[in-house]
Symmetry: C2
């Protein structure tokens, strides 16, 4: 393990970062739609065609690191502790999810602009919603796998959807109303935890 990456690998990482940095800078400076892929490539000193061998689309530059956080949450769900019920797993998953976001928040250089762009550019927002939606399906599947007797897949989806959906909308609306990134995260966390506690109570007191 931990092989020293060769020159080839190092160069790839470097141009990848150069592309991301150039893209974010141009997007913030002159707007997402107003920036062409060709300009990004030129700024990163590669050909336009090479851009598309690093990113499948212009949008993908913004979401290149979204997998990480999703998989951290998936791991939490997939590794239940003895005695965990579904709602306990979800609670820890939410906590870990928001911790990831809060940490990333410090990487102002990347996540800050990316966040702003997703919030303001419709096509990026649509893409982000799709990504989050597909990851919710994974969360639900993982939750069902972890507690196959307690929850059907559809029931797990109902839980995940409610918790994520509440947090997402609250966070977004909060930021639209001028909240800082920190306040936005807080609003989202509180909304998710509120839904969580309501669902926990409902689960333990079947009507």
């Amino acid at each position: 393990m931990s092989e020293v990456p060769g020159l080839r690998e190092r160069k790839k990482i470097r141009t990848r970062h150069a592309l991301i940095a150039a893209a974010l800078e141009l997007f913030m400076e002159k707007g997402y739609e107003q920036t062409t892929v060709s300009e990004i490539a030129t700024a990163a000193d590669v050909s336009t065609r090479t851009f598309f061998s690093y990113f499948a689309s212009k949008e993908d530059v913004i979401f290149h690191n979204s997998r990480e956080g999703i998989e951290r949450v998936l791991r939490v769900i997939a590794e239940p502790r003895p005695g965990d019920r579904a709602i306990d797993l979800l609670t820890r998953a939410v906590a870990s999810g928001f911790t990831v976001l809060a940490l990333d928040e410090r990487l102002q250089s990347e996540i800050g602009p990316a966040n702003y762009l997703v919030m303001t550019v419709p096509s990026l927002r649509a893409r982000g919603l799709l990504l989050l939606f597909e990851s919710q399906r994974e969360f639900a599947e993982a939750l069902h796998r972890a507690c196959p007797e307690e929850l059907s897949l559809v029931e797990a989806s109902a839980l995940v959807g409610a918790v994520v959906g509440g947090g997402k909308l609250a966070a977004f609306v909060s930021m639209s109303n001028g909240a800082s990134p920190g306040e936005m995260l807080d609003a989202g966390r509180r909304a998710s935890e509120f839904a969580l506690s309501a669902l926990r109570a409902a689960a333990s007191q079947p009507s």
Copy 2:
């Protein structure tokens, strides 16, 4: 009122319908991505350029009637009955929303294919999610307006997001697992109502 629409207006309606019908038929026959706008226009006997004066994009053909249902739900929220609390409004909004969907379901000719396409084509799914997300923001705002003292805008968003998010994911996962359109709607409705009842209980018993 009820002016007889002139020839100009009638023709516009006719070509609009022709475009929608041609598009759906082609999409179902040879796939969404495999169908070009030019083919749709030709099938509807207009020029390609004219297509874009009826629809802003190829995707829009699928979502041309999405506003209707949204506004019906908005009306329910905006017209509270005496004694209604936020959760009561939301309950009726959910009921009316699913009624709309269930009725539309009968228009097999249009909503059926459109639904199938949104479920299977990623770019359409992203667009649908964006549309639903923006409408949730409207729902939350309407709910806040209807009960300004009971709920802040962010709190209203948390409620709406949880109810819609749960229903949406449950419905989608259910359909992915091979459910019929009717079963899918049922799964969504049950999930939304479950979230609703949990939130109602949580609201009446503050921890």
